[in-house]
């Protein structure tokens, strides 16, 4: 069934997420969240550490049940896991007992693709992320950046309509982050999926996204700002940072983010 054209790829309405605490009582991570991601739109969420950005992403993925509010995917209420989304985790999520090739190919198994064909496609995707020479490596033999490339190929081979990314390049060094950011933009430009990208790095958010959403410090964090990024595409992550327009946007967003970051630190800088 084709979705109605007007429907958002991801739509969060009045969303609240709470967790039961070990000692009894509840901790409200986020509340009153209203956010819509249009098909083909790249949205970045920034906020201080511990503000519940990842929790929001998990709700969109169906990994976390909201305490209140609605999660809609292309206009349909989300029940269970979000099968139309691919999720790129911050931590290493590859199966350590499978080679790079098998890790990518196995992503096609739930779709019922025959193994030979899955391997062929996986080879293609690993070539696109620049890992043709590392097909037979197990994850522990790959560097942090290479593992992220495999994870990216594993997510993209399924051709999801939505990409959910949880600080995917967080653990990488600065140069690798730039390279991965450019790789992501290149791959994304090919078919423009809807992207929800969580990061604590405002520069990364602006360089990548069409829109930057700012969250307040937790608990009960909510969205306090929504800024369009009108920088032209295609962009180069390293070069776009030098443009005056970039600085202008950065200054504007940082003005609202700064207060929240300070609040988070004052509250003890919850991790």
């Amino acid at each position: 069934m084709p979705p109605p054209p007007a429907a958002s790829a991801v739509s969060l309405t009045d969303l609240a997420i709470a967790f039961g605490l070990a000692g009894g009582g509840r901790y409200t991570a986020v509340e009153a969240i209203g956010l819509a991601v249009r098909p083909g739109e790249f949205v970045a969420i920034v906020g201080p550490t511990g503000c519940g950005k990842s929790t929001l992403l998990n709700a969109a993925a169906g990994l976390v049940r909201p305490a209140a509010g609605k999660v809609e995917i292309f206009g349909a209420a989300l029940l269970g896991l979000n099968g139309r989304a691919g999720y790129l985790f911050q931590q290493d999520a590859l199966m350590p007992w499978k080679t790079a090739l098998d890790n990518v190919a196995v992503a096609l198994e739930p779709k019922g693709v025959a193994q030979a064909k899955a391997h062929e496609q996986a080879r293609g995707w690993l070539a696109r992320v620049g890992l043709s020479a590392f097909l037979d490596r197990y994850p522990h033999m790959l560097s942090g950046g290479q593992k992220k490339r495999v994870a990216l190929a594993q997510v993209l081979i399924r051709d999801p309509e939505i990409l959910l990314m949880d600080e995917p390049f967080g653990p990488l060094d600065a140069q690798t982050r730039q390279i991965m950011g450019n790789l992501l933009l290149d791959l994304w430009a090919a078919d423009r999926k809807a992207v929800l990208f969580v990061t604590h790095d405002l520069e990364e958010a602006i360089a990548l996204a069409d829109r930057v959403v700012v969250m307040s410090a937790g608990p009960a964090a909510t969205i306090i700002g929504d800024f369009p990024v009108s920088l032209p595409r295609p962009r180069d992550i390293a070069e776009v940072r030098l443009e005056p327009a970039f600085h202008h946007i950065h200054k504007e967003i940082w003005a609202s983010l700064k207060v929240e970051v300070q609040k988070a630190y004052a509250a003890g800088g919850v991790g």
Binding site: L81, N82, Y87, F89, W97, T99, E109, Y138, H140, M141
Partner: protein, 263 residues
Amino acid sequence: MSRAKLLGMQVGVGLAMLLLWHVLTVYPILGAPKQIQFFFSTPLDVLARVVKEFSSTEIWRHLWITSIETVLAFAFGAFGGILFGFVFARGETLAAVFDPYIKAANALPRVVLAPIFALWFGLGIWSKVALGFTLVFFIVFFNVYQGVREVPQVVLANARMLGMNERQLLRHVYWPAALTWVFSSLHTSVGFALVGAVVGEYLGSSAGLGYKIQQAESVFDVTGVFAGMLILAVFVIVIDMLVSAIENRLLVWRPGPATGAQS
């Protein structure tokens, strides 16, 4: 240290101990050699006995029986341990209800079961298989249980997001994770399978290495006991080497000395 040097030192220690044994039992240092030899035999006598044993076909039958018992005890124990480990790890309530019984059963010294198994399963191989089973089962069970429950949450969440159903999760995530733990306990569990077989034979049987040793012991034939122990020790080393080879083959993905050179 180089491999050759290490091997040389290992052999050296063995030879030194054998030499000490030889000197103390052949020369009148601690007393009359005849008397000492009754209690301790001599290395050359033991070696001669082993050679004599292997010149007849008799010993091969005993080795074969013990091997069969070991392999069967391991196979049944591992299968049962893996099955129950999976079921209990996936069913919280079941695990909680059975917890005290499993702990009690595991705490029981298994040797006391040997006579009961002999009564139930007769003096043939099956009472020994049963004894080995009770030893292997719990080791594998606890390891699989642990392995399945400690699958990294993020790997599991990722696999779910890739759209895997329960069966696919079992095959691609739970099973390989559990297998790691089974293999980490493989040396122990194969060893215990052999212990079950030999102890069972020792306590009541008509064939096997444990029977051989028991026979020699019952007539105070110390040379025979030591010869049996020597054969048993070599047998254990051979099995352990086989296990290592299988382990290295199946766990190539694991970081560690086996693959460390490539990374």
